[in-house]
């Protein structure tokens, strides 16, 4: 795959070398920005100023003001925090539970294998957005509902990756050796098998986080994800639709922020996947 082409020298080479780093730098920049939001000198994202509603960009409000006169830049950055924490929370939860179930299924086989894999098939029977909507109907919207629901939706991916990895690794001599020296099953699973399948799991984490950002924004766009007045990109896009003829910029900012974030995360996923595949 990575054959060097003869014309791949000089400027082209440099361009590729640096372009290759954009996803990592981009995701890092977005995450840092989201972490730094509370200490940045930003306007209050919830402060309403009806007199200046839909005001164009100004010195005090670099990206303008929304339909309630709230500062758009501040809402955009606080929105990044909400989106990324929902994504990170659900990916971490799905990863932890998925690693556990996958290891147990792949290590003990038999009934454990049947139960974990078949129960994941059931989750996969529901189109993702639908299962989320079913739960939201019952429990009401909000980040507290969203994170566990997304975690359940993305659980099958982790279980399958870990299960497949565990099956491949458990036949290796070093696992046999760990058995022979009398290591307990929990130790073999976590200390011997898990480190050897960390690569694919990491790729799955990145894929899950990117998918979670998309799903969270979609649900918030429908008004069924993050609850107003908390800022979220999906909510901002949904709200800006009503005023898109008067203030198209209001619609474009969150659309651009969301799309660039997902673009960077997708590119990071691809880069990680290549890295893991190349390391084999």
């Amino acid at each position: 795959m990575s054959q060097t082409r003869r014309n791949d020298v000089g400027l082209m080479y440099l361009a590729r070398k640096w372009l290759g780093r954009i996803p990592i730098l981009g995701v890092a920049a977005i995450v840092l920005l989201a972490l730094a939001v509370p200490v940045l000198p930003l306007a209050d994202p919830l402060h309403i100023d009806v007199a200046h509603h839909l005001a164009p960009p100004s010195l005090a409000h670099p990206l303008g003001q929304d339909e309630y006169g709230r500062d758009v830049l501040s809402r955009l950055l606080w929105g990044a925090r909400v989106s990324l924490s929902v994504a990170a929370g659900s990916a971490a939860l799905a990863c932890a539970a998925g690693v556990l179930l996958g290891l147990v299924g792949g290590f003990w086989r038999g009934a454990a294998e049947f139960l974990t894999l078949r129960s994941m098939d059931i989750v996969l029977c529901f189109p993702p957005l639908l299962l989320a909507l079913l739960v939201v109907t019952l429990l009401g919207p909000g980040a507290g509902t969203l994170i566990p629901v997304l975690a359940v939706l993305y659980l099958p991916g982790f279980v399958r990756v870990v299960y497949a990895g565990a099956l491949a690794v458990r036949a290796q001599d070093y696992v046999e050796a760990a058995h022979a020296i009398g290591a307990r099953p929990a130790r073999i699973m976590l200390r011997t098998i898990l480190p050897n399948i960390a690569g694919p799991v990491l790729v799955q984490v990145s894929l899950t986080a990117a998918a979670a950002v998309v799903l969270e924004s979609g649900l918030s766009f429908l008004g069924l994800g993050v609850v107003p007045p908390a800022p979220s990109w999906g909510l901002m896009i949904g709200a800006a639709r009503a005023t898109m003829t008067q203030a198209p910029l209001l619609l474009l900012w969150p659309c651009a922020a969301l799309s660039l974030t997902i673009l960077a995360m997708n590119a990071l996923c691809d880069a990680l996947r290549d890295l893991v595949a190349g390391g084999r």
């Binding site: 029977c125 909507l133 109907t137 799309s259």
Partner: protein
């Protein structure tokens, strides 16, 4: 034949489990579901209304009887009544399902028409200008969420250029031209992301197929490039593409929710959003159940198609 029988039984079991989960979900919620559904905006609901909803949802009877009753009614196609206007849920779903299916079919058609030729072209001119440009556009199309694409299309073509209406629906029998006009924008919105997936898959499959021995033989026989590409390369490369497309279509059954909302298209998913907002549980239950059953059926159909196309699957 035992492969087929096993596959059918698995699907039937999955559908039964799905129905049970949709039935049980309302009972797994902590607290009284009726009270939960009625208490909008944090106001404590009226006890009389709660009791009435209990009777309506059948929550006042023992769980096992409720369960048996709901399965019995499911078997005869009764999905209960809407909490909003007391109309039968099944009838409303039957009215809206064809619209959603039409939207998905139109999107799939557009995606195939865009994605497969582009993928073939990109693979034959690998690393050329077209390949790079198309790969970039595809990465972009996969990154932009479907509701953003839809909203931006509305902003550009409906609000600023006034070329098309912003959304809506007219039955085919009433005005065929207008029907197609209104179908174009939502179908295109879905098709863009789908075409990107089809493009990537086609490109990868064609690149893979080109290296095979039978293709080299075809070239050695002196066949025309056109014949080699279309009859020998593309024909074999389409197998994985069709599978991926079919699986994507399954996800779309639930994924049209956002697009239908953006374009105000009165399909099945639009009904779902209305029902969720009104916390109309029987209606949500019905739609989720119908779509999930279709989803399972579609996966079964893909497997069967695969077995017909490739006999090795049947003996695996």
């Amino acid at each position: 034949m035992s492969w087929l029988l096993r596959r059918l039984l698995t699907s039937a079991a999955l559908i039964w489990v799905v129905a049970s989960i949709v039935f049980l979900a309302i009972r797994l919620v902590p607290g009284d579901p009726a009270e939960l559904l009625l208490s909008q905006g944090g106001m404590a609901p009226d006890p009389a209304a709660v009791a009435e909803l209990h009777a309506q949802l059948g929550l006042d009877r023992p769980v096992l009887i409720q369960y048996a009753d709901s399965l019995r009614r499911l078997a005869i196609g009764d999905l209960g009544r809407s909490l909003q206007d007391d109309s039968p849920v099944a009838a409303e779903i039957a009215r809206r399902l064809p619209r959603t299916l039409e939207l998905i079919a139109a999107a799939a058609l557009l995606a195939v028409l865009l994605g497969i030729p582009a993928g073939l072209l990109a693979a034959t001119g690998r690393d050329g200008a077209f390949d790079r440009a198309a790969s970039f556009v595809a990465a972009l199309a996969m990154a932009v969420p479907v509701f953003v694409v839809g909203t931006l299309l509305v902003l550009l073509f409906a609000q600023m250029l006034h070329l098309v209406p912003a959304g809506g629906y007219v039955p085919l029998a009433q005005d065929p031209l207008r029907h197609l006009e209104l179908l174009t924008m939502p179908a295109l919105t879905i098709a863009l992301g789908l075409a990107a997936a089809v493009f990537r898959m086609t490109r990868a499959a064609v690149l893979d197929e080109q290296r095979r021995d039978h293709v080299r033989t075809a070239w050695a026989k002196g066949l025309s490039p056109r014949r080699v590409l279309l009859r020998h390369v593309l024909r074999n490369a389409l197998m994985p593409v069709v599978t991926v497309l079919a699986l994507h279509l399954g996800t779309l059954l639930g994924g049209t929710v956002l697009v239908e909302y953006v374009f105000n298209y009165p399909g099945l998913s639009g009904l779902l959003v209305e029902a969720v907002n009104a916390r109309d549980y029987p209606e949500v239950q019905g739609v989720v159940l119908v779509i999930s059953v279709l989803f399972v059926a579609l996966n079964l159909a893909v497997d069967l198609l695969y077995a017909v196309l490739d006999p090795r699957v049947r003996h695996a």
